[in-house]
Symmetry: D2
Subunit: 127 residues, 4 copies
């Protein structure tokens, strides 16, 4: 076992998942399989692959490419992912997946939940 | 929206998932749902809850408590999780889930894969 | 080199640092050494050591115990860390370091910065 | 305070630092300031900025550009960082910082430490 290999493994690093998302994804309407697909998407994007194909996703997952496509379609439709168009340095139009809608949904959920808690506390005080 | 709430959210932090695991869990024989249950287990353990119940896990997941129990049973049987017995400060015997077997499986997989690659390289050179 | 050792290393996991903090700690008035001491504090707390001694901190850092004490004192005084008193399960009073003030300072800074940007945008539009 | 801003903050994500590195950087011969510069380097590289200038680093740190340059020079000389040359898609030669030497140093340290522990255990058994 050579040390270079181990250094390579360490160098690969980690993906950090906010505990807020881990604790609340179910309330946002995500299943575990959808969560995992988002995680792979996030990991691809971080590595500079902005628009992974269903086949690329399926290679990492226990889903078939067509199941990945179907799950992606659902995530786009439910508003967890969006596709952004950009023009790159060579003036070529490229498409990118963006997880911004996911974070917006999470923040919105947290705000509503926090407002509800405040309202309930006020009601308890008034009684 | 008060700032204290936002600070609380930030303070919750993140769970870091090694990319090695994210890239290879499928080869280790894990499904997405099993991966997510392991992730929740890891998060509970980090918060000092060493032996979460199926009901506690089910609260975070889209599974029912009995589905969580069944998935846990499978993970124990397939050797991704183990249960360790310890004696705490008050001499009470406590049980803890441990993810050590998961990391051992991952390391074993990486070693075998790396040995195979080396063998193939040598064969190519010899030809 | 045995595989158990490597699995142990992998099992140690990572500490996740929000990029927001990494990008702005300087503006909050933190030096690199103070940042690192906070990072060690955070890591100790995560492992259940709520009130590490200057000697325990110094073991991980290039500082002496008295330099750690002095840095801790400054962080408490500048309001990045606080000490919380709690009563544990055996009714013993224990002290804990808390990084909540750090997150509050970060949120406050982000709010002020964002308000300033909005004001400047409005001024530009009015001209 | 608009929710879009908060979603943006969440979207920035985190940098994951292996606890192995946090616990042993001192033994590897790194100071806290050097550690922080490596952390910024890592963060720049992850964002696709492969060769940040001393001025770009200094903007995030409490160091001046020339202090950053001096620290970088030391890290290169002590073998924690290397500069790799690559040819990009437009056949332009580009330079990249690489942290691979850091991980190699860490792995080497862990191997030596683990070998020492084994030897000491054997010696104790023999007595």
């Amino acid at each position: 076992m050579d040390k270079g290999k181990m250094a390579e493994w360490l160098a690969q690093g980690s993906v950090a998942i906010p505990k807020l998302l881990l604790h609340h994804y179910k309330r946002l309407g995500l299943t575990e399989v959808e969560f995992m697909l988002l995680l792979h998407l996030h990991s691809f994007i971080e590595e500079g692959i902005w628009f992974p194909t269903p086949a690329e996703l399926a290679e990492k997952m226990t889903l078939t490419p067509s199941q990945c496509m179907e799950t992606l379609r659902k995530l786009l439709q439910k508003g967890f992912v969006s596709i952004e168009e950009q023009v790159d340095e060579q003036a070529v139009r490229i498409e990118k997946y963006s997880l911004k809608p996911l974070w917006e949904k999470l923040v919105y959920y947290l705000f509503v939940q926090s407002a509800n808690e405040e309202r309930m506390e006020r009601q308890e005080e008034e009684q």
